[in-house]
């Protein structure tokens, strides 16, 4: 039994948030701070012929106007270094940064932008990723092959010279062609998704200050250390000259993992010798930040008459827009693309393509929402064709203990089938239903990140006896600060209130790759657990010296050292810590956890190149009603079952499940960034609709807890899972209701109605 793990403990950072005192990126204010604004390209592809900034510079209140001429010309980038601070000769999408202004206030900065004259020469542009692959398509990056990959992020980078294909990769096992030829039935389908936006409520915001060659940046960043390295490389300074502090982050979902406007803020601060703050407007978010990586997914599956899956071939074309941040989603599909099924033979090909549009970047589940959309839709189609219950068909083929997953690792600690059964039961699977009511299912899985991702933690003690935890990962809303505090408290045997935690400050915290891929509870959590264990050991060593009682007879109880053999012992943490200080041996526990084989306590020999402890599993079930007159799909109920291992905090976990389900609902039903000649035409919450309080159906979160031996107290993590399966579950439910199959997201009324009309 645990003391604090598994309990619904309130967020340790919650009071400042409910009282409006939490400081987000948009709230940072420094004395003498200027307001920065970025001028962006109005055309999708063109030559930058001439920029005249003189009129803008002369406007009273303007302190600096900068263009590519004023800043380092080095390239940088999250995956591939394909971007410059400002466009140098070419603009590649409507939104590409061309110049920036620092002024005494926002109004003046905006006025100044209007006074910058830019002369462009239009170039032919390409917007469709399939057309962008064709011979003779306009090239978005002519100099692509001269680019460098960003260390660690893209070790297997493979561009196709002379094309828009920035990355192509294959992952295969067995002989897929032979296996397909031997299958009783072969199913071939193409599925498409739309680009959606993260829609974190806080827009990107950064404040930069440059003093005596030292750069300090306050930013709502998900990954302070990788962003620091990126910026240090870009500005040609050592990492030690850059101090990045994550403010409170008003939502991220992957959208805040890369430098987006930090580089502009630094350049302006450098020029003006004053702190500069830049906050994106909401239209800027939609047109110049990033969205998800949409995909065209071709899927071919071989199956036996009895419903045994034989082989699966998948080809993905990913639209990364003007810059290559879509690379992680495209690689992710190699690992997780085929779904959590036993498939002796498979082949996955991914092609990442530049177009003259808003860039793609990881978005909650990166690549897996797109692959799951295709796989789980087709699984249903196959089940219906074979006359097998979709639930049974999935159970028959789903991974289980002892199987081998798609990256060649043994499968263990898996609650997948139980998730499916429980979610299905919750929505009344198999029970009678009314007219135009349908039910749909989808399996969900995701292997953990393998981008050499490392997390560190330090644990020491304050003079009052409380534990001080330092971690480098950002809290972006998921509740990592409370979860990590619980992990430390559990290990130390103290209450959560006796744990203080500081996160995501590069000058103070140990290195951490950051907050992405549902990794913080697992990796940072394991680092915290290890660090706390080491701190505890040091504490007990000193206590043992003080009391002359062997360490093995000492225990911790509520910030006191006690001993069953010596009931008279009553030694407080405070006394031990005082002694540690007078002995000049302060306590400091250090912990590290990460991928690449150095996972602590990993008992399994990994067959693949990259170890994958901590795969997460789940299942989505939905019940919908389809209006045959209008095509409107209403979700009546959702059940989302997740095997996140041992629950650390049920409030936080349920929050991820319900919140992810609703985000998945937007992805399924209406979210779509719309383009016209490369320009985003719905850059506001009026025209780009996300779920609001009116649309949310009853949602039942189900926790299936199969502990992960290597996880902190058995935890696996859960951030991305719940959104992954909603879209196919809804499409499957639509089929169940009105017998039409839709292969294009979102499932808008017009699309559904059109399909219904074509059926009759």
């Amino acid at each position: 039994m645990f003391n604090v793990i598994g309990r619904p403990i309130e967020r340790v950072d919650g009071k400042s948030m409910v009282s409006g005192r939490a400081v987000y990126g948009v709230d940072v204010r420094l004395p003498g701070m200027l307001c920065g604004k970025v001028l962006r390209s109005p055309i999708p592809h063109g030559k930058l012929l001439h920029i005249d900034v003189e009129k803008a510079r002369k406007l009273p209140g303007v302190k600096a106007v900068i263009t590519a001429k004023d800043v380092p010309s080095r390239r940088f980038g999250f995956a591939i270094q394909d971007e410059t601070i400002f466009a140098i000769d070419t603009v590649r999408y409507v939104g590409d940064a061309v110049a920036a202004v620092a002024a005494v206030d926002e109004e003046t900065a905006e006025d100044a932008l209007g006074l910058i004259d830019v002369e462009y020469e239009d170039l032919p542009a390409v917007f469709d990723p399939e057309k962008a692959c064709l011979d003779g398509a306009p090239l978005v990056h002519e100099e692509m092959t001269s680019y460098l990959p960003n260390r660690g992020r893209s070790p297997t980078w493979k561009p196709v010279p002379g094309t828009n294909i920035i990355h192509q990769a294959v992952h295969a096992k067995g002989d897929v062609e032979a296996a397909l030829a031997k299958s009783d039935f072969v199913f071939e389908d193409t599925f498409r998704t739309s680009q959606i936006h993260h829609c974190y409520m806080e827009p990107h915001a950064a404040v930069a200050q440059v003093e005596s060659g030292k750069i300090t940046v306050w930013s709502c960043a998900q990954e302070v250390f990788p962003i620091r390295s990126n910026l240090a490389n870009l500005f040609g300074v050592p990492e030690s000259s850059l101090h990045i502090i994550a403010t409170k982050v008003g939502g991220g979902f992957g959208g805040k993992i890369a430098p987006r406007l930090e580089q502009h803020a630094i350049a302006l601060a450098w020029k003006t010798h004053k702190p500069v703050k830049i906050v994106m407007t909401r239209p800027e978010e939609f047109t110049a930040a990033a969205g998800s990586a949409p995909a065209v997914v071709y899927i071919k599956t071989g199956v036996q008459k009895d419903g045994t899956l034989k082989a699966r071939e998948m080809r993905f074309i990913w639209d990364t827009g003007a810059y290559s941040e879509g690379l992680p989603p495209s690689n992710r599909a190699l690992k997780d693309g085929i779904g959590p099924y036993r498939l002796p033979d498979f082949k996955i090909t991914t092609t990442l393509v530049y177009t003259n549009k808003l860039r793609a970047t990881p978005l909650r589940g990166l690549g897996v929402p797109e692959s799951t959309w295709a796989v789980e839709s087709q699984m249903d189609m196959i089940a219906h064709r074979l006359g097998i219950d979709p639930l049974e068909f999935r159970l028959k083929n789903a991974l289980d203990d002892g199987d081998t997953n798609s990256v060649g690792d043994p499968v263990y600690s898996i609650g997948l089938k139980q998730c499916l059964r429980e979610a299905a039961m919750e929505i009344g699977w198999g029970k009678p239903k009314g007219k135009n009511i349908g039910r749909g299912l989808a399996l969900i899985s995701k292997t953990p990140t393998t981008t050499g991702s490392i997390s560190g933690a330090y644990v020491h003690f304050n003079e009052d006896g409380s534990a001080q935890v330092l971690v480098g990962a950002s809290e972006i809303g998921q509740g990592s600060l409370v979860a990590l505090s619980q992990i430390a408290a559990e290990e130390l045997g103290i209450p959560v209130e006796s744990v203080a935690i500081v996160s995501a400050d590069t000058a103070v915290c140990p290195f951490d790759q950051g907050t992405f891929s549902s990794r913080v509870t697992l990796y940072t959590g394991m680092a915290v657990k290890t660090a706390a264990a080491e701190a505890k050991k040091q504490l007990l060593e000193i206590a043992s010296q003080m009391t002359e009682i062997p360490e093995r007879d000492l225990e911790i109880d509520q910030q006191k050292i006690i001993s069953r053999k010596h009931p008279e012992l009553n030694l407080s943490f405070r006394e031990v810590i005082e002694r540690a200080h007078t002995n000049m041996k302060p306590i400091l526990g250090k912990g590290w956890a990460g991928g690449k084989g150095d996972w602590p306590g990993l008992p399994h020999k990994m067959q693949g190149k990259e170890p994958t402890p901590g795969s997460k599993y789940g299942a989505q079930a939905v019940e919908v009603k389809v209006d045959e007159e209008t095509g409107v799909v209403t979700i009546l109920k959702m059940a989302s079952a997740h095997d996140a291992g041992q629950t650390v905090n049920p409030l936080a976990l349920d929050g991820q499940i319900v919140g992810g389900s609703v985000m998945g609902m937007g992805y399924a039903l209406y979210e779509k960034i719309q383009f016209e000649d490369g320009k985003v035409i719905n850059p506001s919450f009026m025209d780009y609709k996300i779920p609001s309080s009116h649309e949310v159906p009853e949602i039942v979160p189900i926790r299936v807890e199969v502990p992960l031996p290597e996880g902190p107290f058995g935890a696996k993590g859960a951030g991305e899972l719940a959104g992954l399966g909603v879209a196919p579950a809804v499409a499957n439910a639509i089929f169940d209701a009105v017998q039409v199959r839709i292969k294009q997201l979102p499932l808008e009324p017009e699309t559904v109605l059109d399909a219904i009309e074509r059926k009759t």
């Binding site: 619904p8 309130e10 967020r11 919650g14 009071k15 948030m17 409910v18 009282s19 409006g20 005192r21 939490a22 400081v23 987000y24 948009v26 709230d27 009273p60 209140g61 206030d105 109004e107 003046t108 993260h198 829609c199 974190y200 409520m201 806080e202 827009p203 409170k248 982050v249 008003g250 939502g251 991220g252 979902f253 906050v279 407007t281 909401r282 239209p283 972006i476 809303g477 998921q478 509740g479 409030l651 936080a652 349920d654 929050g655 319900v658 919140g659 992810g660 389900s661 609703v662 985000m663 506001s684 919450f685 009026m686 996300i690 779920p691 609001s692 309080s693 009116h694 949310v696 949602i699």
Partner: protein, 162 residues
Amino acid sequence: MKTEDVTVERVELQINGETISVDVKPAALLLDVLRELGLQGAKRGCETSHCGACTVLLDGRAVHSCVVLALRAEGKEIATIEGLGADGELHDLQKYFLKFGALQCGYCTPGMILAGKALVDHNPKPTLQDVRTALDGNLCRCTGYTSIFNAVLAYAESRGKE
């Protein structure tokens, strides 16, 4: 128009029970004036009055302060999230938000709490549908709303018992 050409008007705003004199331009938005005064709990999220992160109460009614002129708020009681609770104690609704895990990133939270408070102040026994309607002007991308509904309903119920 340049800064120096604009006439500035002195207004007296009643904010969280205090009278504050402040110089504002005619076009100044209440949201910006409040944030300039250091009351940064109200956030800008969209500029088009769709997200509700800027929600404050005007005479007890939830409004989007990004579309209210500061001049128009003169003579009205303005309540912001900073004014909730007393003597360092959280307001009960704030406590219910924490208890029900009705916040994640927290950016929408001040607006949600104020919109919820306005509802329960006017309608002490709201139904779930009432809560949905009252919060329709406030977007949240993290929670999926359910925990927020539960926090507001539990708060209303607790008040009914007093």
